[in-house]
Amino acid sequence: MNKSRYFPCGTSRREFVWEMGAGFTGLALSSLLASEGFFQRVANAGEATAAPPLAPKPPHFTSKAKSCIFLMMNGAPSQVDTFDYKPELEKYAGRQLPPDKQYINSGGRKVGYLTPAWRKFLPGGESGLMISDYFPNVRKHADKLAVINSCHTDSHAHGSALVAMNTGKTFIGRPSLGAWSVYGLGTENQSLPGYVVMLDKRGGPISGQPNWSSGFMPSTYSGTLFRPFGDPILDLRGPARITRQVQREQLDLLAALNQRHLDARPGGAELASRIDSYELAYRMQTEAPETVDIAEETQQTLDMYGVGQQPTDEYGRNCLVARRLVERGVRFVQLYSGGGHLEETWDAHESIEKNHGRHGAEVDQPIAALLTDLEQRGLLESTLVVWGGEFGRMPFSEGQNAPGRNHNPYGFSMWFAGGGVKGGIRYGETDEFGFEAVTNKVHLHDVHATILHLLGLDHEALTYFHQGREESLTDVGGRVVREVIA
């Protein structure tokens, strides 16, 4: 049971110390906290050290996963049409949810009748995991997947639910999962950003930048937007007249100016790291475009990802670039499928078949290719792949014979693969309708705790002191879903 949902702040370990009678006298408390290393961590939080801020750091404990690729299905795919097999829905078709099933009907849309999956489910792999025909290629990897069918979240509106899926809370201003990851682990490649976000060409998530923000932590940890072709990073190149040679000369001049400045200020650690940052930026100018340059990939690989074919070209490129990024030591990559509004995302109000048919066809082959490719290169063990949206969809239609489904935060599915995850398993259940999580419920804090755990981070120990409180991604909630870990 997840306490944080009941109480905005809840009982943390320190509060527990407090409750035990430390009282307002303070002395005992301070020494208790000091022995916990509390003040030390407070002191360290804002410290500028001479080492690059994103230098690799040891994890809290050994873990298989070194990187994470988060496949974010923006707009919320329907669980009962993808990874949550509910044959009972056939039986209930045309009826309404029983009256004791209460829910918030987002946006006041029409409430229709229970509707079975729009495409058929088939068993995949030796495990026989049931996966629908929206994901026929992913189904071939069923034995790699740990599907969690009992996810639930705190908002039924896209903007806030996306922010929650990324930062743990429904309001803006907190660091995102990727930011916590690079804060905890640094990154292996200093010539590339440690945390890369690739948006759908149709647009970003509606709640924008807060989804990859570093919140109250330094901007060092925020996600860098990467475009899959051309210049991948903002301001990676100046105007055309500044040729590479012109800029090299400029940077040499700058280095001389800065060295002169530094010589007069010995011990200026920050000055020295800023000097380094220019060289990093210069290297990034070569390395980042090289990373997105997929020309050197074999035709076979390109075909596997569906690059150069429609409708897979865009997501195929992104998936391929994601592999190239983790290959180069980037810590956290997030790929959005769907952007902008409504049907441009997975937000299938109008028609599941039309919407999921379209978006599924865009991502199914690329995702399957990514799993194959990572496995072939021996990267799957060290790369955690996460698939999911910000919530799920209702098992009923939006009116009689209406082909769409409304938002549903009460129950939805996500899956993990690689990175030390058990394959071919299913965890947690929704009720017989696929409406709400009922067995082994997994709150989004639990999802976050598990992802951090797989990366070698203890979600309770990974904290950042801010405005009088040690903040963490999972606040006072979060349970590592050990059942999906190999």
């Binding site: 306490k3 009941y6 109480f7 702040c9 809840g10 407090w18 307002f24 303070g26 500028a48 050290t49 080492a51 801020p53 994103l54 009256p99 004791d100 209460q102 918030i104 009907n105 987002s106 946006g107 006041g108 908002s155 509106a157 903007g159 309001f171 201003g173 948006l199 919140g215 901007s219 060092t220 937007l225 990073i233 903002l234 301001d235 990676l236 500044i242 012109v246 800029q247 400029q250 001049l253 001389a256 800065n258 400045h261 200020r265 010995p266 011990g267 650690a269 920050e270 000055l271 020295a272 790291s273 800023r274 940052s277 990093l280 930026a281 990034m284 100018q285 009460y410 405005q467 009088g468």
Partner: protein, 906 residues
């Protein structure tokens, strides 16, 4: 016993609600909408009639009596609401997150015996979702909270005692002392066998003072003049001159706006609504700093400006509001900085108070507490503060201060919460006049329409008459038949003749005046009348202000900080721990009073000259911006979890000095800037031990700590000034200033932004917009990329300390961004127009405020020559030579603006 709600009734209700919700279906962020909220009160299941019978049958055998299981007694509504050891059992109108429902629904309770039937579960769920009401109303929930005793030791914590002006310590190095600040600093340094560094050179001093006070660099002429000023007190005069500059307010207002959490958008919702009136508060803050408004007055106005100047009395009785009154209500914009996305249609949202309204009050309190009081009051919202002697009750006492204005139960949507700059008589006059204008314009517009219709008919008949007689009638009928009802023949006729006989309205508006001069004449007359009428309209300004709402404000104590588990009522108050020293004085106002006086009483308490926190917190903030670090390094937290002051006696001395000077911020600036401590060099002292100058930190990234600095590695004792990187806004302003494109226009509406397809947010590229960064739109969801990269905070609530990062994206921004390349070009243009012969020297003078050393100049010129040749290769004659030169100079200028010497202040 009441049956579970019949489906038919439920569906009808759903339908009604759906209808009422359709207008807000675009509201994609709504967190909680539910079907239950609009149910008539008499429909609601009650605890006694509906729920208790179920609990009696299935639960009370364990959950009642002397020692109920898990401390949860389910026998009365009060005990259910109070909850047990695991916390509250029921959250009003939120069954899904109520422990009671969760355990029952999951089948975990009862653990043995007969489970609840689906119908019984339905009743419990419905009861909670309909508000968990009881037949006895809410009175039975009132109970006093047993506050934790605050011990003597807690009371004695340094920041809760009134600061006293201690006697100055004795120091040996009296020749170094310029003012009392130095005695405190030297005394501590001496204890560690350290002393102050020598005074920085004049060039360094003037740059430091300019950046600290104005946020832009001095012009080369100002540097030369200051360096050449041999008269006594040249430095002190410089400080006075800078403090008198209007640019000072623009610099220091920005610091305050950070802690106030100022933004030009409402936040939270994805629409992040723009707030067109917010800038007035920003302008108020700039004016306040420039006018050296006494800090106590500054706070009184911001927290209770309306009550301070007796706004309502003036509003009712004056002919017009004076500037002083308008200024005071503008100041209350401070309390409007917290995110508040409320709209009128939020009243239809279930639990909107806990979802939206309470958070706005809580954030407002957090802003006040961290910006002015330096305490983390927000920690006491759900439980007694963990570190500081702040019982949870205190949080709600302070909340009661603001409940006069902010009422979750009768919330005023943010866009409707505003005052005008008019007195009542003016307002009534304007309203009356505008109503008249509206009516007259409506009448005239109707006349115009009628006139047009008349001529339209006339023309129709006229044009028809021109047609051959045999088809005339057929055409007339065809055209008067609506398009979808015409038969084949009529369609053909209509297609053929409509253009001439029945043109569309837009064409008619062109044709009629030409064809009918009398129409033209009448129409012009009507238009003139409308314009004249419109000119009579009264326009007036509006202000995002805070003011009390009518009626008595009640403030419930919220158990666990949860608005869905309210408890007893709490009256206004402050921090118990401080009230012994500074009593909070407030009398309930007479019933007819327009305002409760709560905020004014609070602001007076806060600005009491003996208040332990107010002056200390402000002194520390000011110190921080002059030394890069506060005397207390956690400026938003002076409590036990904050850091201890490095120089407690100095902090207190300055706090008393601030109060004794009549709360003059500029006086405090003078004290600090004129001290030897501020004026010392930022370099390490000579003879401070062996340092490998080439690799001071080694390539390993480890700082080589010298024997000298190991005595005070973080320079907490201030044996030298601190090297500081400019903040985001100062970087942009300085770049524009050096490039010669910065406009000094002050105040007014915000400067709009441009969002590029690639996500970059820039200022619209127009010279008009090359104004100081404080005037740029500050949107919560769309930060200006260049400023954001350099750590301008994304405003969630407020920012008491900016983070300071060094990342390669900053390097990319400086090297490649549109803004920087444009600035480099402008800078080059300026340099070439001022001194084309010796461009390198002029560029360095402008950027760094110094002339280059001979060897440096030589390498700069070599760079210019080689860069010129490089560019010449890619250019075509005849303009090539000049253009290549110009580009080479721009390349140089660009690097000067990216150099550490430009970004850091010594």
């Amino acid at each position: 016993m009441r049956k579970s709600e019949p489906r038919k009734a439920r569906n009808t209700r759903k339908k009604n609600i759906r209808a009422s919700l359709s207008c807000i279906s675009c509201l994609s962020w709504l967190l909680l909408l539910s079907v239950g909220s609009l149910a008539a009160a008499e429909d609601k299941p009650t605890f006694e009639s509906h729920v208790l019978p179920i609990l009696k049958a299935k639960c009370l055998s364990c959950h009642s009596g002397e020692q109920p299981k898990a401390g949860l007694d389910l026998s009365t509504r009060r005990s259910v609401m109070l909850g047990g050891k695991s916390g509250g059992a029921v959250r009003r109108a939120a069954a899904e997150s109520s422990l009671l429902w969760e355990r029952i629904a999951a089948g975990e309770m009862p653990p043995k015996g007969t489970k609840l039937t689906a119908e019984e579960k339905g009743i419990i769920r419905a009861w909670i979702n309909d508000g968990a009401v009881g037949e006895g109303g809410d009175d039975d929930l009132a109970h006093g909270a047993a506050g934790r005793e605050i011990g003597e030791e807690a009371r004695g914590f340094w920041s809760f005692k009134t600061p006293l002006r201690s006697t100055l310590p004795t120091v040996d190095a009296t020749q170094l002392v310029r003012n009392p600040i130095d005695t405190f600093i030297l005394h501590k340094l001496a204890a560690s066998q350290l002393t102050l560094s020598p005074e920085a050179d004049r060039r360094t001093l003037i740059r430091r003072a300019y950046f600290d006070l104005l946020g832009i660099p001095p012009a080369p002429e100002a540097v030369d003049e200051f360096c050449a000023d041999g008269r006594p007190a040249a430095y002190e005069r410089l400080i006075d001159q800078l403090l008198a500059s209007p640019a000072y307010g623009e610099r220091w207002a920005r610091h305050w706006l950070d802690v106030a959490g100022y933004a030009d958008s409402a936040g939270i919702l994805s629409e992040d609504r723009f707030l067109p009136l917010a800038y007035r508060y920003r302008d108020y803050v700039i004016r306040a700093f420039n006018n050296d408004k006494p800090y106590d007055r500054f706070l009184l106005e911001q927290i209770a400006g309306d009550e301070l100047v007796d706004y309502w009395q003036h509003y009712e009785n004056d002919d017009a509001l004076s500037d002083e009154i308008i200024e005071a209500i503008t100041a209350t914009g401070y309390l409007r900085c917290a995110p508040d996305s409320s709209r009128p249609d939020f009243s239809t949202i279930k639990n909107a108070d806990s979802q939206y309204f309470y958070p706005t009050i809580n954030d407002t309190m957090q802003i006040v507490a961290t910006s002015v009081m330096g305490i983390t009051l927000q920690c006491a919202r759900c439980h007694d503060h963990m570190f500081d002697p702040i019982p949870q009750e205190d949080f709600y006492r302070v909340q009661a201060i603001f409940m006069g204005a902010f009422r979750p139960t009768s919330w005023v949507p943010q866009m409707e919460r505003r005052l005008t700059t008019l007195s009542k008589s003016q307002f009534e006059f304007a309203t009356q006049r505008n109503k008249e204008v509206e009516e007259n314009v409506k009448k005239l517009a109707a006349d115009a329409t009628a006139l047009r219709e008349k001529y339209k008919q006339r023309r129709f008949a006229g044009q028809l008459a021109k047609l051959p007689e045999e088809i005339r009638e057929a055409v007339r009928i065809a055209l008067l038949t609506s398009a979808d009802k015409r038969d084949e023949a009529q369609r053909t006729l209509a297609e053929q003749h409509a253009p001439s006989v029945q043109p569309d309205d837009k064409q008619l508006d062109e044709l009629l005046p030409k064809e009918y001069p009398d129409y033209q004449e009448s129409r012009t007359k009507l238009n003139d009348q409308i314009a004249a009428e419109q000119a009579r309209r009264h326009y007036y300004d509006e202000i995002r202000a805070v003011y009390d709402l009518p009626g008595e404000a009640s403030t419930p104590f919220l158990r666990r900080g949860d608005a869905l588990t309210p408890g007893h009522a709490v009256g206004p108050g402050t921090l118990t721990v401080l009230e012994q020293e500074i009593p909070f004085q407030w009398q309930p106002p007479p019933a007819e009073a327009k305002t409760s006086g709560r905020r004014l009483a609070f602001a007076r308490w806060l600005t009491d000259s003996r208040h332990p926190l107010t002056a200390r917190v402000m002194v520390n903030r000011l110190w921080r911006h002059h030394f890069g670090e506060g005397i207390v390094s956690t400026p938003g937290d002076f409590g036990r979890a904050g850091s201890a002051p490095s120089h407690p006696e100095l902090l207190d001395w300055l706090a008393v000095e601030l109060v004794d000077s009549g709360w003059s911020i500029k006086h405090l600036h003078r004290m600090v800037l004129n001290s030897a401590t501020y004026r010392q060099s930022s370099g390490l002292n000579k003879g401070s031990g062996p340092i490998d100058a080439k690799h001071p930190m080694g390539r390993s990234g480890q700082l080589d700590l010298t024997p000298f600095s190991s005595r005070d590695p973080e320079n907490r004792l201030l044996s030298r000034q601190r090297l500081r990187r400019l903040e985001a806004e100062a970087i942009r302003d300085s770049v524009l200033s050096v490039a010669g494109t910065l406009r000094s226009q002050m105040y007014g509406t915000t400067i709009g932004l441009h969002v590029w397809p690639d996500g970059e947010v820039t200022v619209h590229d127009s010279l008009d917009h090359y104004r100081r960064s404080i005037y740029l739109q500050y949107l919560r969801l769309r930060p200006v990329t260049m400023l954001n990269v350099f750590d301008q905070p994304v405003i969630e609530i407020n920012c008491t300390v900016r983070s300071r990062s060094t990342v390669s994206t900053q390097a990319l921004t400086l090297l490649n961004s549109k803004m920087m390349t444009a600035a480099a070009d402008a800078f080059a243009g300026r340099v070439l127009s001022e001194d084309a012969e010796d461009a390198a020297t002029q560029a360095v003078r402008l950027a760094f405020g110094r002339v280059p050393a001979p060897d440096e100049l030589q390498s700069l010129n070599e760079f210019l020559d080689s860069q010129q040749q490089l560019h010449a290769k890619s250019l075509v004659e005849p303009a090539a030579l000049d253009e290549a030169r110009r580009r080479a100079v721009a390349d140089l200028c660009h690097m000067l603006l990216s150099a550490n010497e430009f970004l850091y202040v010594d």
